[in-house]
């Protein structure tokens, strides 16, 4: 990711959309960030980072807001949200593997 210039995060107003996929505003994020310094909690409370891009666009802005509000610098010292597969969205039909079907925890005799 490219570095951004100083002061850029201060340009946001309360109505600024920070997470575009889930349409989460800076005001909603600020309320969550006031309640916790845990990025995974912010995510689960606001849905920021839960959409199609999985936080690729907004995680830096959220990290900056967390760092600034909780006095934690540099931004890179903050833990990032848990990373999970897939790296990019994949259709169910492309990855479903019926040979992996199991009988469940318990099976039924026919």
């Amino acid at each position: 990711m490219h570095a951004v210039g100083p002061g850029v995060y201060e340009l946001a107003t309360p109505e600024t959309i920070v997470c575009r996929c889930e349409e989460v505003t800076a005001a909603t994020l600020a309320a969550a960030i006031d309640a916790t310094d845990d990025v995974n909690v912010v995510k689960s409370l606001t849905r920021a980072g839960m959409g199609l891009c999985q936080g690729r666009n907004c995680q830096r802005q959220i990290a900056a807001a967390l760092a600034s509000h909780h006095g934690r610098q540099p931004i890179s010292s903050l833990p990032v949200a848990t990373a999970r597969p897939p790296v990019r969205p994949v259709p169910i039909g492309a990855v479903a593997d019926a040979s992996l079907e199991d009988g469940g925890f318990f099976t039924v005799d026919d």
Partner: protein, 407 residues
């Protein structure tokens, strides 16, 4: 999208110093613990909740949010042994009560939980599975839970999104789902308003018991300092044995990793929750129009504090069952997988109540914890407040402990 502030207790109160003593000390900040704190607070019972990390980060916040009221396959296949039939009926009656609790919970807590009573389908692919659906329906009817078996054209017209060759499905109108990311936090907020004290980053490391009893029976050392308690409730779910071990108790509970998948949003076509009687599947379309696909596929255990890691095989196998049952999913894209943890008791029944061996040390844990925890917390709060118990004797801790020592 929403612009109102999310509901979460303030960081300042969660990190405040611990009180010196309390009547009830609740250990565990998941759904069971926060619900208990709320019901105790409302009943005027002094209580403090301590959580080792953040609220709602384990099973309570990482499950799929389904209400499971129908009897599941693993419960039915145990039918041949002992008094299982009777105990299943106790459980179904409890499920019917839990359904009532969820139906009114948004009003009770005055906040959004994204509760949708959509009804639930449990499908059968084989003649054996279909026979089991009919047996299950009889048991459920006897216990007072409404279910219907749908077959052929009736099923086709009721649920046109299901694969045409499925043999049948039971329909339970009470089933549905809520948002697990909202439930425990809202209980926590309302608990604090009702007078309960909640603290995070306060993991319990030591418990000293005064055999003489009294208001300071337990001296509890936590990462946030010491607190005296008259009574303790173990609401630590999958990690219950870590706490129980501090007082020499062993509970028949194990932690299992649970795999889940979520897709991109699509037009809302799937109203009910869909399960499979013989395979690992729960499938629903959420309030955000995404499909949430789970059902008990495994995740890899990792040592704390790491999260359990996901297995790609669980994705491939889990979504294969989903697309077999609901073919229109084939071109829907998966955007994320995640893993949660789940507490399994050996006999799959909840463990709730006081310990005969160590009076004052209570347990509050259910296998299908999301569905049952608000109700069980309500019942235990009533017992702690009044001394009268409405908890089924089959769920006694000593039943559990006794089993644990013989297995």
């Amino acid at each position: 999208m929403t612009t109102e502030a999310p509901l979460w207790p303030s960081a300042r109160t969660l990190r405040a110093p611990l009180p010196e003593s309390t009547d009830v000390l609740i250990v565990g900040g998941g759904l069971a613990g926060t619900a208990l704190a709320y019901y105790l607070g409302r009943a005027g019972v002094e209580c403090v909740l301590v959580e080792h990390a953040e609220l709602n980060r384990e099973a309570s916040g990482t499950n799929a949010g389904s209400f499971h009221f129908q009897i599941a396959i693993h419960q039915l296949t145990a039918l041949e042994t002992g008094n299982v039939r009777e105990r299943l009926q106790t459980e179904v009656r409890l499920h019917a009560e839990a359904a009532e609790v969820w139906k009114t919970l948004e009003r009770e807590l005055a906040g959004p939980l994204e509760i949708h009573i959509t009804g639930g389908l449990m499908v059968a692919e084989t003649p054996g599975e279909l026979r089991l659906l009919h047996e299950k329906r009889e048991l459920e009817e006897e216990a007072g839970l409404e279910t219907h078996v749908l077959e052929g054209e009736e099923l086709r017209s009721f649920a046109p999104y299901l694969a045409e060759d499925l043999l049948g499905a039971t329909w339970c109108p009470d089933e549905g789902h809520a948002n697990p990311m909202l439930a425990a936090p809202l209980f926590a907020v309302r608990a604090a308003e009702a007078g309960a004290e909640l603290r995070t980053h306060a993991g319990v490391t030591r418990i000293d018991v005064d055999p003489a009893g009294g208001a300071r029976r337990f001296s509890v050392t936590t990462a946030a300092g010491r607190i005296y308690a008259h009574r303790i409730v173990n609401a630590t779910g999958a990690w219950a044995n870590d706490l129980a071990a501090l007082v020499g108790q062993r509970l028949p509970i194990r932690a299992e990793g649970l795999h889940l998948n979520v897709t991109e949003p699509r037009e809302h076509v799937l109203v009910p929750m869909v399960q499979h009687i013989g395979r690992r599947l729960t499938l629903k379309q959420s309030t955000s129009d995404t499909f949430i696909i789970g059902g008990g596929w495994p995740a890899n255990p990792e040592p704390p504090p790491r999260r359990f890691s996901t297995r790609w095989e669980s994705t491939a196998g889990n979504v294969a069952v989903a697309v077999r049952v609901v073919p229109l999913l084939a071109d829907v894209r998966i955007v994320r997988t995640w893993s949660g943890v789940m507490a399994f008791t050996e006999d799959l029944a909840p463990i709730v109540g006081d310990s005969g061996r160590l009076p004052g040390f209570y347990t509050l844990i259910a296998t299908t914890g999301f569905t049952l925890s608000p109700l069980l917390a309500q019942l235990l709060a009533e017992e702690l407040a009044t001394g009268r118990s409405a908890i089924p004797p089959e769920y006694s801790v000593d039943r559990a402990s006794a089993q644990a020592t013989t297995t």
